[in-house]
């Protein structure tokens, strides 16, 4: 089995590759090459940085069309991480309004910084959805490491699990073959390793 981490030039991918190697035997490839992505059995869309510039990079590389083909038409399982999760949804107001890939109903807006320090940084407890594949084998409120200034909300039922920081926001979703986590499993110690293993084995 092959897993491709979609590389669009943002942030540190070492920990993610290291974490996947640690928990499974899946072949991990970091690539922005369309041919590589087409050969993958599973995809991960990582991401650190600005929504607007990330979307621009994705479009420049022609990845928006190929992701749509693979994820929507061919139903290849995908996990979006942090910004990568937000990119799977409709839009964000980070750096000005920007459309996302639009695979999942949702929009990201900035946390209200009048009340709490922003960014939201540190481990926080996730209220894990019942029958979730991502949290299979976990207790009800596992800790994961978050670092973000924008939070996701959705009008639809997308298999969301929530987290609380000032208000409830979407910590993860899983809808058919599409999953996303706002936190960084690759930086969340053994909890994150287990979640990545669940994605590899259960999606």
């Amino acid at each position: 089995m092959k897993l491709a981490i979609v590389d669009y030039g943002m942030g540190n991918l070492h920990s993610l590759v290291g974490a996947l190697d640690y928990v499974s035997n899946i072949d991990v490839l970091v690539s922005s090459n369309i041919k590589d992505l087409r050969q993958a059995d599973k995809l991960i869309l990582p991401g650190v940085g600005h929504f607007l510039s990330a979307m621009a990079c994705i479009k420049d590389l022609g990845l928006d069309a190929v992701l749509k083909e693979l994820v929507i038409e061919e139903k290849t399982p995908i996990l979006g991480i942090c910004l990568g999760m937000q990119l799977l949804t409709d839009s964000s107001d980070e750096g000005g309004y920007s459309d996302g890939l639009g695979f999942i109903n949702g929009r990201a807006t900035r946390f209200n910084s009048n009340e709490l320090p922003v960014p939201h940084v540190g481990y926080n407890q996730v209220n894990a959805a019942v029958n979730s594949r991502l949290y299979d084998g976990f207790g009800p409120s596992p800790d994961f490491y978050f670092t973000h200034s924008h939070q996701l909300q959705s009008d639809c039922s997308i298999g969301q699990s929530t987290c609380h920081y000032g208000n409830d926001f979407i910590a993860s979703f899983e809808y058919e073959n599409i999953a996303g986590v706002q936190f960084h499993p690759e930086l969340s110690q053994t909890n994150g390793l287990k979640l990545l293993k669940n994605f590899v084995e259960l999606f």
């Binding site: 960014p119 481990y123 930086l187």
Partner: protein, 257 residues
Amino acid sequence: MLRNRLIFSLIYSDGFFMQSRNFRLQRVGDINWLEKNYRFHEIAFSLDELIILNASRTGKDITEFSKIVSRLACKVFLPITAGGGIRQIGDAEQLFNSGADKLSLNTVLYSDPVLVDSIAKKYGQQSIVAIVDYKIEGDTPVVYIDNGTQKLNITLLEYIKNIENMGAGEVVLNSIDKDGTGFGYDLDIIERYKSHINVPLVVSGGAGNEHHLAVGLNVNGVSAVSTANLFNFIGNGLPNARSYLIKNGFNLADWRK
């Protein structure tokens, strides 16, 4: 509930990890020593975050430092902040490509706001950890940069405002007077300044045992406590400190054993 964090800071200089006391550095051991005597890759599972600082006084070689970061980042699954000597965007890029998740910035916060802004724009505000070193002179905190050698003619309050506007995602208040003493954190300054800081606050300088960590975590508004004391937390020091804090009801994350 958002958890507080326990952070370990490693101070590196020219091939060695150092014990710092009031910013005077003493060699302790190289990376092999750290892996063997600290069983680094095991104790990393007892930490919330790791900070690796290049404190070399003789020119900070980013490429050589990146190799150290890369070796430490291998097979640990926690956020790593690295910094010391970042002077251009290429330095930032090199550290990110070596396994850093965030960058610690100090001197450039004063000398090169444009660089700080470009890092924030490219990698996001959450990737910038601003380290604020200060000394008490009279009864006023005075900000220092450049390994604590250059005094700034600006109040701590103004400085904090400036660096937040520049895009700092977290602020580390580091007391040079308390650094490496093991006498406990500078609670007076933390209490006086915490409400003026609008991003997560990390306190640093002075922790010598788990009680000091506990006292720091008990301050409302403190997001994380950091220790760089290699001597006082040797062996199982850090895992024991973490168990002690969790056993005593402190709000730290828990993960599968």
